[in-house]
Structures are given as structure tokens and as C-alpha cells.
């Protein structure tokens, strides 16, 4: 990751705030992802993922995370969810299934959590609250 100065939102747990630093780092990754919103591009990507990725000057780590569908790593490397969700949609993965993958639980468990009112705010405001547990 590129150098980042401290941000007021750095103490929010389990959250990437997509600011200019992340945007700069993820630029070509995100531009690749958004290209998949068009059906022709999805077909070309599907036919040969590596060749399609050659069009976008990503870092090797970003490229590998795309090929691996490593959804958390894509965010760490500057991806934004509205972009990476286009790669997910290409694979037939919905926003809710993608959330389950990122939080590391089965789809049913995540869906049940949402049906029961979602992830509570209590205990989820500060990184310090996560470190305690």
C-alpha cells in the first residue's frame, strides 16, 4: 500500500474509507472492474481473463487478487465495493453474497443476521472494541 497519513476515520473497524489515497492506488483495478458493466467486455474477459487484464496496468498483487477473486484483498489494494461488485456480478454473485464472502460466513448465516436486524452498532464503532474481544 502507498504511504497514508493518519485519518480521523482510521479507528473505525472492518471498514475501508475510499479516499483519494485509496482511489489513486486502486485506479487501474477499479477501471478494469467498471469495464465489466458492459456485456461485450464481460464476454471478452470470460474468454481469456489474463489477456483482458493485460489492458489494465495494475500491480501484480492487484492482478492476482482479481484472478483469485480475493474480495478482501481487492479492497486492501485500493478497490472500492461499487467497482469490485461489477466483477462479482460478472461471476453471478449478488451484493449480499459478496458481503457474506467478505465477512467470512456462509450465505445463509449472513442472510439470517440481516433478517434479525443486521450487524448491531454496539461494539462496532471503534477498532478498540474489536481488539478487546
Amino acid at each position: 500500500m502507498t504511504e497514508r497519513t493518519e485519518k480521523p476515520y482510521d479507528d473505525i473497524p472492518g471498514t475501508f474509507v475510499f479516499d483519494a489515497d485509496r482511489s489513486r492506488e486502486g485506479y487501474h483495478l477499479n477501471m478494469f472492474c467498471i469495464s465489466l458493466r458492459l456485456a461485450d467486455n464481460r464476454a471478452t474477459f470470460g474468454a481469456d481473463e489474463g489477456a483482458y487484464l493485460d489492458r489494465y496496468p495494475m500491480t501484480p498483487a492487484q492482478r492476482q487478487a482479481v484472478l483469485d477473486r480475493d474480495w478482501m484483498e481487492l479492497l486492501r489494494l485500493g478497490g472500492n465495493i461499487y467497482y469490485t461488485s461489477k466483477l462479482a456480478a460478472n461471476d453471478g454473485i449478488t451484493f449480499q453474497e459478496l458481503a457474506a464472502k467478505m465477512t467470512g460466513v456462509p450465505n445463509e448465516e449472513y442472510r439470517d443476521m440481516m433478517l434479525q436486524g443486521g450487524r448491531p452498532i454496539e461494539g462496532n464503532r471503534y477498532k478498540s472494541e474489536w481488539e478487546k474481544t
Binding site: T15, I81, A99, R125
Partner: protein
């Protein structure tokens, strides 16, 4: 004289569009959500807007990372529903209102808001889902009941405009509409929110107490709402909860005192809390 008669606050989750487009709104998962819009659809029929001014955000669809306008006003003749990666929604093309949109653009820029004018633009679920929930099903060969002026707000790359700036833009939009000579009944929509986080390990965050306080403040205390900081939105309502700044544009365009005629709050739609409110100007 054109006038803004009411404001509508409304979430804009893609899955709500999918539920309508695939005809599953009666299923137990979705029914409680759509029940909250029955009254709204009647209200729309009774109140018959001539134009809707719709504040929403583009979700990396029409705008990619190369060009990120803070406020982009749609001045085109029409706006096609976009393919966001899972096919184009089977809903009508959205017709604009070019003369009123240009009038608002000129007035608001001279009022020192730094708009980007869009003369070509596709629109994503952020705009079409609120139309669908408020107008009911309309197929691709149908027409929406009235023209729509879209205002796309950047809430994807930090920083979004402040809530205060959005509120003041709402006031400027109202001044613009008040000075338009034609008799038009304009309803303004603020969309997005409520609390939700779509990404990373905190995905699924929902804060119903906060959301309901926000709905209260929309009705009765906009001065409090306009002061909410970005950090509070991010921490208390999730990384995508910051979409709620867009409701402030709607609220700024209304009277200081309004009448709340309808409210609905439901969890969940996919990852999101759904909030909805209808506020009428007195006049």
C-alpha cells in the same frame, strides 16, 4: 410559477429493483418492505407531480474513476437506464425536462454552486429504484408518469459534499424553481441510505436508532441534521450510510416547517436498512 410542494426520502437498493423486475414482491422476504409503499403510490397519484427533481448517486456506472463531479445536474432530453453489470433494468427511459433543468443550472451556478452540467448520462438503480417504488411497475415500453431532473452527488469517493452544503444547495434549487415562470408542481426526492455497509468485515451494519432519529430530524429538526459530520455517518451508519447527505438536498428545498404525511422503516433489503418519508410543504 413553479413550486416545490413536497419532498420524498427513499432508499435505493438494487435488490429492490430486482424484486420488482422479477415479480417477487409478494414473497415473505419482500412483502413487508413493499407494504410500506402502498400509501406512497396513492399519494403520488393524488399529488401528480409535473416534474420530479431526483437527488441520487451514481454507483460507478455512468461515472468511472476518471471524472468525479461533486454535483452533476442532468440537462439531457432523456436518460437511459444503465447496465450495471447484471443487465439493463426493464423500465422506461427517463425523460428529462431540459428547460427547467437549464434554468436551475443557470440560477444555481450564479448562486455560487459549482455544478457540472451533464448533457448525456445513463442512470443506474440509484435513480430508477425510487421511481419504481413510488410509481409502481412500469415496463420498458411504458412511460414514467412525469419527467425527471436528475442530480447525481458524489458519495463514493471521500469526501462527499457536507450535509450543510447539500442543505444549502437544496435552498438554491428551491430559489431557482420558485423563479421559473411556468406553473409546475415539482416534487423533490432525496434518495440513498439508510444505515448500510456493503464492504469488508463490518458489512451488514444496521443502526435503527440512529436511522429513526435521522427520520425525525428530517421531519422536525433539519438544522440538527445538516450538522451531522462525515465521521458520524461513517462510524454510526456504515461506510455507505453517508448516502444520507443526499436527503439534505431534498430537505433544504422544503419549508422550515413541514407536515410528515407518511413514514416507513424496514430492515433488511439485502444489506441495507430501508427508510422512507413523505414531507409536504404547507403553503
Amino acid at each position: 410559477m413553479a413550486r416545490i410542494t413536497a419532498g420524498v426520502g427513499c432508499s435505493h437498493v438494487p435488490a429492490i429493483g430486482v424484486a420488482m423486475d422479477t415479480g417477487i414482491t409478494d414473497q415473505p422476504y419482500w412483502k413487508p418492505l413493499f407494504d410500506g409503499f402502498v400509501k406512497s403510490r396513492e399519494w403520488m397519484k393524488d399529488n401528480k407531480p409535473d416534474v420530479i427533481f431526483l437527488v441520487y448517486n451514481d454507483h460507478c456506472t455512468a461515472f468511472d474513476a476518471s471524472c468525479i463531479p461533486t454535483f452533476a445536474l442532468g440537462c439531457a432530453a432523456e436518460f437511459a437506464p444503465a447496465d450495471e453489470g447484471w443487465g439493463r433494468r426493464p423500465v422506461p427511459v427517463v425523460k428529462g425536462h431540459q428547460k427547467l433543468a437549464s434554468h436551475i443550472a443557470q440560477s444555481v451556478i450564479l448562486d455560487e454552486f459549482d455544478l457540472t452540467i451533464m448533457n448525456e448520462m445513463e442512470v443506474d438503480h440509484g435513480l430508477t429504484v425510487p421511481l419504481s417504488v413510488m410509481f409502481g411497475e412500469h415496463g420498458v415500453d411504458d412511460e414514467w408518469p412525469c419527467p425527471v431532473i436528475p442530480l447525481a452527488v458524489n458519495v463514493v469517493q471521500y469526501p462527499a459534499p457536507t450535509g450543510n452544503r447539500c442543505y444549502n444547495l437544496g435552498k438554491a434549487i428551491r430559489r431557482a424553481i420558485d423563479s421559473y415562470p411556468e406553473d409546475l408542481n415539482v416534487v423533490i426526492f432525496g434518495t440513498g441510505g439508510m444505515s448500510h455497509q456493503l464492504q469488508a468485515e463490518r458489512a451488514g451494519l444496521i443502526n435503527p436508532e440512529w436511522d429513526n432519529r435521522f427520520l425525525d430530524s428530517m421531519a422536525n429538526d433539519p438544522e440538527a441534521a445538516r450538522q451531522i459530520t462525515h465521521l458520524e455517518y461513517l462510524r454510526e451508519t456504515g461506510s455507505e450510510g453517508i448516502e444520507m447527505v443526499m436527503w439534505l438536498v431534498m430537505r433544504g428545498a422544503l419549508d422550515e416547517k413541514v407536515t410528515e404525511v407518511h413514514r416507513h422503516y424496514h430492515v433488511p433489503a439485502s444489506n441495507t436498512a430501508v427508510g422512507h418519508i413523505i414531507l409536504e410543504n404547507h403553503e
